[in-house]
């Protein structure tokens, strides 16, 4: 056991950090700067980070989920408004069913509450199905039940949904009655274990994204606590403020430990175990991230409740990442199921 990053992993983290620090949004107004966002997107494209899970030799991905999680964490920390999680999950689906790499930008379709991938039953997608992280994508991948599991099919995207929840990652509606084109050879459906592993990747990446968001909002809040003065002193000198921030720091560090393990587990453990390990991480990180982001707003006081303060951009990004494949409750249930506790109705 040695859970330190390798020198290559450290270098990857540093280059991702540099890209988002240089080209990511630093103010709410920056979010409207399309020229800047395009530069960030081009930098991510040139780096090949969205193809980390594309098939390399055999069926193996080009890089492990640890590398993908390193990118996700840095993009979360810097509120990167360039697609990553959606594209990575799409590349993983293609790899698992033996489909050729995408020729155009794409993402994945989910059910309306994002708790599961969209499955087209007899040619019809569930009402309100939506493509996540859909900027620059013309199509999304969805699942279709077939003999032996699921097929992966491509559907085209319709209108982009104004970014209401996560201001950095708009979604898109899936065209009504859109035609579905099955990808990959018929003899290679997505098996139940493939789907578990894909879900594990999604939980691992969104956990890493949440850790990044927590690091980002914590550093913004600490900076503000050192600068803002009331009663003639910095508010960061008040013990009540210090203890809120200390709790946020502790929650972030615990999250970091479980998210690192989750990223490792995606490829290293059997599918069932990988799903349990990543669900555990996602439950922990979801609960922590909401608390940490709320602390970020509280420390900013009145300013923290205005649109122009970055605090809510972190919270909104967290709210999206929490919902993708389920947050604290859904993943707590997965952990209980894995341990055979809670019976058939569990917490429901």
């Amino acid at each position: 056991m040695d859970v330190r990053f390798s020198p290559e992993q450290q270098a990857l983290r540093d280059s991702a950090a540099q890209a988002v620090d240089r080209l990511g949004p630093h103010t709410v107004r920056d979010l409207e700067d399309t020229e800047r966002a395009a530069k960030l997107d081009a930098a991510v494209e040139a780096s090949g980070w969205r193809e980390l899970r594309a098939a390399g030799e055999g069926r193996a991905p080009l890089a492990s989920a640890v590398e993908a999680a390193i990118i996700a964490e840095e993009m979360g920390r810097g509120l990167a408004d360039a697609p990553f999680v959606g594209a990575t999950l799409a590349a993983e689906l293609r790899r698992l069913v033996g489909a050729p790499p995408a020729t155009a930008r794409e993402t994945v379709g989910f059910v309306a509450d994002l708790s599961a991938p969209a499955v087209a039953d007899r040619g019809t997608l569930p009402a309100g199905a939506v493509a996540i992280d859909a900027r620059h994508s013309a199509s999304a991948l969805v699942l279709v039940p077939v003999e032996g599991g699921h097929a992966v099919a491509e559907v085209s995207l319709d209108a982009s949904i104004p970014a209401e929840v996560d201001l950095t990652r708009p979604a898109a509606t899936i065209a009504a009655g859109a035609g579905m084109e099955r990808l990959g050879p018929v003899e290679q459906p997505l098996t139940a274990d493939d789907l578990r592993r894909w879900t594990a990747l999604g939980l691992g990446l969104t956990s890493a994204d949440l850790v990044g968001v927590m690091r980002g909002v914590l550093s913004v809040a600490c900076e503000y606590a050192g600068a803002r003065r009331q009663y003639g002193v910095a508010i960061g000198s008040f013990q009540a403020v210090q203890h809120m921030l200390a709790d946020a720091c502790v929650a972030m560090e615990g999250s970091r430990s479980v998210a690192l393990h989750a990223a490792w587990a995606v490829d290293a453990l059997a599918a069932e175990e990988a799903l349990a390990a990543t669900a555990m991480a996602k439950a922990y990180c979801s609960r922590a991230a909401r608390m940490v982001c709320e602390t970020g707003i509280q420390v900013h006081g009145g300013i923290g409740n205005t649109w122009d303060c970055m605090a809510h951009v972190y919270l909104r990004r967290a709210l999206l990442a929490i919902d993708v494949l389920g947050g604290a409750g859904a993943n707590l249930q997965r952990v209980l199921d894995h341990n055979g506790i809670g019976g058939a109705d569990g917490l429901r």
Partner: protein
């Protein structure tokens, strides 16, 4: 980055698992009865003699000289077997190891590591808890001995101790942090009286008060230099806060798996609230195992004596208290003549946010030393 076992680690894990099959002393899950503490010394010695204690300490003091991550394997296997956690004294070894001269280290550390000598830590006093530096116990030089007068309290394992790592004031004329020195004081002598204290869960062998009235200690038993006591105390408490040093992961995992077995055995008896409390306790305990893996891996770059221990202590406290809540919720409160073990596990969990420096003090340290917030 790899959370998996290397071939050597897998081999070690197998050997430990085999050994535990025949050598689990079957003590209570936690500090819920005096039997738990009475069994500590034999358990420590058995673990040590079999080569499963002090994995990362240097060989010349009786350690195994292996990477720190072996402790993660020990904790996991102890939990899996339902065995007691490894004895929590790494912080004394690290503290003495970091400050004592080679000669003093060789005199005291082997017996501390092999479990033949029992130790306690005499820092806190009735009027000096969080504000430890204000302590008043005096050590006055008399020939080549120091004479000790004072009152220590909440001293863990004081009833069984052969030695006390004592913090005392050797110079009353300098600022309070600078006048302290540390000693290895023999406990079994006329000038020392030890009185057990009863904890809120009824256990009487967890800690006691120790009264020093003219007790004597050779000057050669000073750990570090005169005036180095405060720095030594800070080294000790910073590691006393690390779950990697304490091995409590095994205790938490053991309690949650026992509670899990109860729920599985009779699922209809438990409602969603209870199941939810147990689920979070499982997640918290697993988080701590992974966090310890991360911290002990970082130690392969060299041990640091920094403020991270405060983060870890707060995480560990959250785990212990979530596990305590699950014990209360699933185990239940015995209003009739039921088993009160889970109630005792719960009550014991309240101490975790006090011992080793309270949670409020840890938050102060995280705020100032990790987050760099301005002094209050």
């Amino acid at each position: 980055m790899d959370f998996g076992d290397s071939p050597e680690e897998a081999d070690f894990r197998r050997r430990l698992r085999d050994w535990l099959r025949d050598n689990n002393p079957g003590l209570p899950a936690s500090s819920t009865s005096d039997a738990y503490w009475a069994g500590q010394a034999p358990w420590h010695q058995a673990l040590y003699d079999a080569g499963f204690f002090g994995m990362s300490w240097p060989k010349d003091i009786g350690g195994q000289g292996l990477p720190s991550v072996y402790e993660v394997i020990v904790d996991a296997e102890l939990a899996r077997a339902g065995a007691p956690p490894r004895p929590s004294l790494g912080y004394l070894v690290v503290g003495i190891g970091h400050h004592a001269s080679d000669d003093v280290k060789q005199r005291f550390l082997p017996g501390l590591v092999n479990g033949r000598d029992r130790w306690c830590q005499g820092f806190s006093e009735p009027d000096a808890g969080s504000d430890l530096a204000s302590l008043r116990t005096r050590a006055e030089l008399d020939g080549d001995e120091y004479v000790i007068t004072g009152h220590k309290v909440w001293t863990s394992y004081s009833d069984a101790a052969d030695w006390c790592l004592l913090l005392a004031r050797t110079d009353p004329d300098v600022p309070k942090h600078r006048g302290l020195s540390a000693f290895a004081v023999p406990m079994r002598q006329p000038g020392i009286e030890q009185r057990p204290l009863k904890m809120i869960n009824g256990v009487t062998r967890e800690f006691g008060e120790v009264l020093f009235d003219g007790a004597r200690v050779p000057a050669a038993n000073m750990i570090g230099q005169p005036g180095e006591g405060w720095r030594l105390a800070m080294t000790v408490v910073s590691h006393e806060r690390e779950p990697g040093e304490l091995g409590y992961v095994a205790r938490y995992s053991k309690v949650v798996s026992e509670l899990g077995r109860q729920v599985k055995a009779d699922p209809g008896k438990f409602g969603p609230e209870q199941v939810r409390d147990l689920g979070w306790a499982m997640i918290e305990a697993e988080m701590l195992r992974l966090h310890v893996s991360r911290r002990l891996s970082d130690r392969m770059d060299g041990i640091s004596h920094g403020p991270e221990g405060s983060v870890d202590k707060l995480l560990m406290t959250a785990v212990e208290q979530a596990v305590g809540h699950a014990a209360l919720s699933v185990g239940g409160t015995p209003h009739g003549d039921g088993d009160d073990m889970w109630l005792k596990v719960y009550l014991y969990s309240r101490a975790q946010s006090v011992m080793g420096g309270t949670s409020q003090i840890q938050r102060n340290l995280v705020a100032s030393r990790i987050l760099g917030l301005p002094a209050s």
